[in-house]
Symmetry: C2
Subunit: 609 residues, 2 copies
């Protein structure tokens, strides 16, 4: 009855034949007079989701996590992963060939400095590393008296038989009914930023920035409607877009050519060289631009200027059309979510459902809206102890039965043309324990503190983060992730530069959309997270001396009242819950069948002590 | 009857004869083939209070603020000051000779890049700038095609007739009954840090670090009991202290020589050169080490390693003896404060007192403890509109009568041998307005939120700062300073590295002392600040998953209940006020005369709606 089209439950490929790949790779390195090589997980644009043709790390090592790196030396070989992936890497990687090392603390550069010897030649592909990353590698080599060598052509690609072709999903126009601003206007604003930077041109090395600027979307990678592409925007004159022409229908091509020249991806390097030859200074996004781009510019006599891509901030501030779109997307998503929550409440107490059943049902309800383009990320459905694994993703092997006494944590989202959603609910299956209710209520109070926060213009996400944690801290507990991330408009569900986290140094601006998702995770027992998306809006306060902002909650779905210890809520907090539930009922009820209405009325009935 | 010994109320020297000084200085620059020069406010050690012999900026320009810089070019000359000092600089500086420019945003380097021309030779004294500051100047010069020239011997000193001699206040031993840890033990811990840094030696360029390490104190600068000095600590072997021998009695000298070699200050350069000659890597504190030290090391073939002085963090964590000392100092200070508050309450409503009267009375009550060594900074006593000037310092000219209807803000502190205090109280003179009570109560709620905060090990001051602001933000108001700074143990009242501020990236550790001082300032009307010192302490919480910290309030003085709108407090907040007042009464009452006891009983009587 239910099925998932946008997510698989298969275990990733295991270590078969991978050892043979490593030997072949070492032979290739020897042919190229290299004593080692660095293989990052990244593609040329540091994308969160990379196409199969860029899965070099997985092909060589077997490790399929979303972050990592490998280093192959003549004798040693190591896979570097962060804490989330230590167990997974141990299962996927052949221990005879590879050691597993930390990715973050200490960084791989420490391992390199210890294992390289004087005279070593460590290769790297400058298209797969940012300049900052390349500089860290170079420093590690220098410490050991070794040399870092930028290769021309990745040696791994030479031995990768049956490498998948790059994706060629058709691009589509993202019309102004969704984008709210024509390309020409966006380019005008980008040119002002280029002038402020005092450079001659800006490279858009982030496909999200290209998609936003030129109002196009695509399907080259999972879950984010991106066409992989580059653009070059000079301070005057027409920009150039670099995109595989096979992705372009005549109408999309016409759309693009109205404001830009359209070139094949391999025209980027010569075009940049030509521009740089006159000594031009060219701005590059330090987060996504490949070191190879800097090298091209320098080699041609130009000046690369690294910094934050100005499009990132422009894109983060949504315009009225995008805001109306996201409100509509959230109302639509709320109907699917409510149907799902009612279904779970009816079916789960029998103890017959599994995590995969939940994922399939939720996606099916979303598909039944008729507007679902993709899920915005693989749904996290963790029941009982699986809920405590923050980045859990169910497979046929890990799949767990949802049992009475469990907490079920469901974190999911949708891509609709008018907006991107991301929501987490934690559901009590049967009777929750007093401890679960205590923890849930502390998480909820933190969530409410963010949702109700009033803060002056200029406040950063770092300044708000503690509001979400304070009630957990009072019990000597915490959660080990940020409180919230930015969200795109039919783009990435994880969008910079703003976030609510102690690292969130970007001031929050009206029109930004951020998640609000405090949690609590008890290892081997249960996980709790409550996540809504929030829109930054202005508000009027009598006597205010500066502009004040607050959040408008976009997500509409009941919060499980059985998990709230009402004795722990202040009057204001209880009012917030009841007001929120009244709003959910008002917005969602008209679009439901009778049975789900009955469920929703009960789930959103006013709570009182 | 009352008088101030540690603070003057005189207006600083005005602009007489200063124009002549500028001409003489320009002639000296011409003799040295320089087309310009940079004059910072700093001394060789970037001290907060500098001795008169280092007041070059004031001598040349007339500007006496605690932060600033001047640049003299052939045609232009500018004084750079921050927002606090714009008005003061305008009064003190001769406008025909100098323009007044911003010190912070944009930075003086922007002005330099605009006013320097190709071929210019801009001089600077590398003893008066950190290396980071010198690099910023060099970058600005490079932009303009000018050259930054490090001078040997400051050209201003050549023309400074009647320059005061450097201070020679006697140094004293700070016995282990106060310091709690012998020099040898401290040196052992410092050597572990040197090993961790992987360097051959550490320069202590901060006199506070030298004083802490070798358990000495002095009186070379105002308000901080410092002997100006340097030290060099090799990873093995005896350290060397560089201090003018005229400051040392035989017994202090014996004390120092038990663990260190004692040299004259001018021995530092040759000693560092000698050490560096072997290629040694030498750690320098990036916040206080003069660029000249880096240059010396490089010139001799050594390697300067810039970073945070490890002594800064060691010094910030107080040991049990220092903690017992500070508690004692605060109890002593509380008696003086309470006598002062009772006196103000009795005398001020007549309308006859002035701000200077208040400063003199408070210092006198503190002197009457018999233990006062100095005030820890010039008392800020601002009544009415003067209270809204955050860094206000009363002079005979600005002195204002304390009138009914005013709020009086008093921020003051004491240096006792067993501890340093810093406390602010805001007092209603006559009947406060409803707005004043609203604002005061919001500030108080923020103060209480910090005082009661529970937070896991590793939490930084940046993570706590918002707790102090949240209730002000709810009214669209804020305060434009940090919530709190670290405090020394009979050392600087402003001590790094920890602070409660959005810039406070140092994790708070048990044993640190920080101020908790939210405020609100209504320009031209009134100022409010409530400041206590807080000690970071551990606490036990059932079910906690990580070590939890909280604050123990050290400062003991009534908070003016007439300014509290009880309707705005939660039950927990009201309990905090009443518990705090009960503690103040319990600790302070036994040491008071009968009349003050009666006042204290009323001032600390339980509040209820």
């Amino acid at each position: 009855m239910f099925e998932a089209h946008f997510q698989t439950f298969e275990e990733p490929e295991s270590g078969v034949a991978l050892t043979a790949r490593l030997s072949a790779f070492r032979e290739e390195l020897a042919r190229r007079k290299l004593t080692g090589f660095v293989i990052p997980r990244a593609d040329q644009q540091q994308n969160e989701y990379v196409p199969p043709s860029e899965e070099r790390l997985a092909w060589l090592t077997g490790f399929t996590g979303s972050a990592g790196m490998a280093v192959v030396l003549t004798q040693e070989a190591a896979v570097f992963v962060d804490g989330r992936y230590t167990l997974q890497a141990a299962k996927q990687v052949d221990h005879k060939a590879w050691s597993i090392e930390p990715l973050v603390d200490p960084p791989p550069e420490n391992w390199l400095a210890r294992h390289l010897i004087a005279g070593d030649r460590l290769g790297f592909d400058p298209w797969l590393h940012t300049s900052a990353a390349a500089e860290r590698l170079a420093a590690a080599c220098a410490k050991a008296g070794a040399e870092l060598v930028a290769v021309d052509g990745n040696p791994l690609d030479s031995i990768w038989t049956e490498r998948p072709p790059p994706p060629l999903a058709p691009a589509a126009v993202h019309g102004t009914q969704f984008s709210g601003e024509a390309e020409a206007e966006k380019l005008g604003r980008i040119r002002s930023e280029i002038t402020k930077l005092g450079v001659d041109a800006l490279v858009l090395s982030d496909s999200h920035a290209v998609a936003w600027t030129f109002n196009i979307r695509g399907a080259d990678v999972s879950h984010t409607p991106l066409p992989l592409s580059y653009a070059l925007v000079p301070k005057d004159g027409r920009p150039t877009i670099f995109i595989d022409h096979r992705k372009l229908s005549n109408s999309v091509r016409d759309h693009l050519e109205a404001t830009a020249d359209v070139e094949q991806p391999d025209a980027l390097a010569p075009k940049l060289t030509e521009l740089a030859r006159g000594g031009a200074s060219i701005a590059l996004d330090s987060a996504t631009a490949a070191d190879a781009l800097s090298r091209l510019i320098v080699a041609a006599g130009g000046k690369p200027v690294r910094g934050n891509d100005p499009v990132s901030l422009l894109k983060a501030v949504k315009n009225p059309t995008e805001i109306e779109g996201t409100r509509r997307a959230h109302r639509r998503d709320a109907v699917a979510l409510t149907r799902f929550l009612a279904w779970i409440d009816r079916e789960a107490p029998s103890g017959k459902l599994t995590e995969i059943d939940a994922v399939e049902a939720l996606e099916t309800f979303r598909r039944q809206t008729g507007a679902l383009k993709d899920v915005s990320f693989p749904t996290i459905a963790g029941t009982g102890p699986n809920g405590a694994i923050v980045h859990y993703r169910v497979t046929r092997k890990s799949n767990r039965r949802i049992s009475p006494g469990d907490l079920l944590l469901i974190d999911s989202g949708a891509q609709y043309e008018d907006g991107t959603t991301d929501v987490t609910r934690t559901i009590a299956i049967g009777e929750p324990s007093a401890e679960m209710r205590d923890r849930f209520t502390r998480v909820l109070r933190g969530h409410i503190a963010i949702a109700r926060a009033l803060f002056p213009d200029g406040t950063t996400g770092a300044q708000l983060d503690t509001l979400a944690r304070q009630f957990l801290w009072q019990a000597g507990i915490d959660f080990e992730h940020g409180t919230g991330h930015g969200v795109g408009s039919y783009l990435s569900v994880h969008e910079g530069p703003a976030r609510i986290s102690k690292l969130g140094t970007t001031p929050l601006k009206r029109g930004m959309i951020l998640s609000n998702e405090p949690g609590y995770y008890k290892t081997d027992a249960y996980g709790i997270r409550i996540e809504n998306l929030e829109l930054v809006v202005g508000t009027d306060i009598a006597g205010a001396e500066k502009p004040v902002n607050t959040f408008e909650t976009l997500t509409l779905a009941p919060i499980d009242g059985r998990l709230i210890n009402l004795n722990m809520l202040s009057g204001d907090e209880l009012d917030w819950v009841n007001d929120y539930h009244a709003r959910v009922r008002h917005e969602v009820r008209p679009h439901l069948d009778e049975a789900t209405r009955v469920w929703l009325d009960a789930a959103t009935a006013p709570l009182s002590l």
